[in-house]
């Protein structure tokens, strides 16, 4: 277990390096001179030279990368061209909003997904199962930004139950969290169902039933524990989807989070801001996956020993 954990952590290092290289190169892969692109068509040679100087674009590429990493490790992600503020502080102030939105959506996804998945599996091939799985298919096929718009129109504009936009108060949470969490709930429900069905078909479940264990206990104690293992991985992957799904949900509900910041920065060709925020999201995602992998192994191990 210890060896596995260490090896898994070490495996993350090349991926992290790859990600930083890719994010760093982002600005340099832009066709043409990045300084020119940032300054705009009409900029004078002097302005372009200043931008080049400020971003260190005159240094050789490996040197630039080295500086980028050293600065990033010290928490310096450069200066936003649009606002003149430090990217780190811009990202930090918005990151928690996005994390909060993703976290609540995750809770909703897991809660609804697990319940629906278990019910579907226990009552498989009945109409209950069919209805649940059709709803899940719809949830999976719906763009979260469209769902957000429809929720906004019905519950915020027509019925005036919830506020149209913004973030902070509990009422403001409801619609964005539903919009963002629905697809995840659908995925987790489908995964839970198929995983449960696979486990229920196994010999040890038949044994438990033959021994006269109550059906409720067979399902919730014997089956669910093993069925949860693949579901944990899906939940981990879902976190990344939520983190970036927030890009769209935040735009719909005018929430001042990291996702909206990324989009606005792209539109403004604010490369340092895009680089910084993309790097933060990617690193967080890698770390979450690392944790999920280790906990997955842990769950599996315990079952092996039993």
């Amino acid at each position: 277990m210890f060896v596995f954990t260490v090896r898994r952590i070490l495996q993350t290092i090349p991926v992290l390096i790859g990600v930083t290289i890719l994010v760093f190169l982002m600005m340099h892969l832009v066709p043409g001179d990045p300084a020119q692109v940032i300054a705009g068509e009409a900029a004078s040679e002097q302005t372009i030279q200043q931008i080049r100087e400020r971003l260190g674009l005159n240094d050789p590429l490996p040197m630039q990368y080295f500086n980028f990493i050293i600065n990033a490790l010290q928490g310096d992600l450069g200066t936003s061209i649009r606002s003149g503020q430090e990217v780190t502080s811009e990202v930090a102030s918005r990151f928690w909003v996005t994390l909060e939105l993703s976290f609540y959506s995750m809770i909703l996804s897991v809660f609804i997904g697990l319940i629906a998945g278990i019910i579907s599996a226990v009552r498989h091939y009945t109409w209950v199962d069919a209805v649940m799985m059709i709803i899940a298919l719809f949830g999976l096929s719906m763009p979260n930004f469209w769902l957000g718009l429809m929720l906004m129109q019905y519950f915020a504009i027509d019925l005036e139950i919830f506020p149209v936009s913004g973030w902070g108060s509990p009422e403001q949470l409801v619609l964005p969290v539903i919009a963002l969490g629905t697809a995840g709930a659908a995925i987790i429900a489908r995964m839970t169902r198929s995983s449960m069905l696979e486990v229920i078909g196994q010999d040890y479940i038949r044994t438990a039933r033959a021994k006269g264990v109550k059906e409720r206990i067979v399902i919730y104690k014997h089956a669910l524990k093993n069925a949860m293992i693949p579901v944990v991985t899906v939940i981990g992957l879902e976190f990344g989807t939520l983190l970036t799904g927030a890009v769209l949900t935040e735009t719909v509900f005018s929430i001042n989070g990291l996702g909206r910041f990324i989009v606005e920065s792209i539109q403004a060709r604010d490369f340092p801001a895009v680089q910084g925020s993309v790097l933060v999201v990617a690193v967080v995602f890698i770390l979450v996956n690392l944790l999920v992998d280790i906990s997955y192994r842990f769950l599996n191990k315990r079952i092996d020993l039993n």
């Binding site: 790859g18 096929s141 763009p143 469209w146 504009i157 976190f239 989807t241 890009v247 990324i262």
Partner: protein, 296 residues
């Protein structure tokens, strides 16, 4: 003693690949949901081809007097902020959506198959390097990678296709690599090699047909994701640009008029849901039909 000759009927052995396809089709036919999905997809393709000739209005025809009108007999889905007929625009947009879905996944599948087969078949250092590269791409969650590609190339429909394509490559590469590894270990591959077949021949004649079914399943399900992702990028203003009748871009217009005219956002969204749903249902059915575990 007279020689007796027995005339055995000589029949050509059936081609195992064709037999396999027949089996798959048979199982697919039994799966009602998959058939429904398949028919819907064919129907949508048909609509994208002949629909634009049948609808009453062109995609760009404006009528500012009738702007933001609700659904009526003349305008089934109502009109948008420029008085354009939303029904006509949705039908015109069908081909754009299918084009994005098919083309981006085609790019991803070709790249993913090449990377996956090279990685799985040759193994060693090439495998390590290619798979680490895929890991790096996978480390960007959701549409983040696509956003990055659009940042670099600038917003446009074709760049979105490329962005969504890049974002789908690792999924194909991983699946194909896994299947290639499994096929490579089969004894008959050794036999073929002993007979003097080149790597090239082994890959094309023996490995590729065997990784075909997981690719098809993955491609169908990926088209659904690709359509959703591309619509999202266009919704953010980073994809198809107005006045193109792309559904994501139409939703973005709808957002601006959500207070007065909810139908502007409603119908393009329904169109996305229906198309994505068809691909998801068909993909699910294909997976069931092709899953070796389900084979009786």
């Amino acid at each position: 003693m007279p020689e007796t000759t027995v005339n055995y009927p000589v029949t050509k052995p059936s081609n195992p690949h064709i037999e396999n396809v027949k089996n798959i089709l048979k199982r697919l036919k039994k799966n009602k949901a998959a058939m429904l999905g398949g028919f819907l997809i064919l129907f949508f393709i048909l609509v994208s081809i002949i629909g634009p000739h049948l609808v009453p209005f062109s995609a760009g025809e404006q009528n500012l007097v009738n702007k933001l009108e609700g659904p009526s007999a003349e305008h089934w889905f109502g009109t948008d902020h420029l008085g354009r007929d939303i029904f006509s625009r949705v039908i015109h947009g069908m081909s754009i959506t299918l084009y994005i879905g098919f083309f981006s996944v085609f790019i991803a599948a070709v790249a993913g198959v090449v990377i996956g087969i090279v990685s799985g078949y040759f193994g060693g250092k090439i495998d390590t390097v290619l798979m680490r590269c895929m890991d790096v791409l996978l480390a960007f969650p959701g549409i983040l990678l696509a956003l990055g590609v659009v940042t670099i190339l600038g917003p446009s429909l074709n760049n979105v296709i490329l962005a969504v394509g890049v974002f789908s490559v690792p999924a194909f590469a991983r699946i194909v690599r896994g299947s290639t590894l499994a096929v490579k270990e089969l004894e008959y591959i050794d036999a073929v090699r002993a007979l003097g077949a080149s790597d090239f021949r082994i890959i094309f004649r023996h490995v590729l047909p065997n990784v075909f079914s997981p690719i098809i399943v993955q491609a169908t399900l990926r088209i659904a994701t690709a359509i959703l992702t591309a619509a999202g990028l266009s919704f953010l203003g980073l994809g198809a640009q107005p006045p193109m009748p792309e559904w994501g871009a139409m939703l973005s217009d709808g957002r601006n008029y959500i207070f007065d005219a909810g139908h502007v956002a409603f119908f393009p969204g329904i169109a996305i849901v229906v198309v994505v749903l068809a691909f998801n249902i068909f993909g699910d059915g294909l997976r069931d039909a092709l899953d070796p575990k389900m084979k009786s």
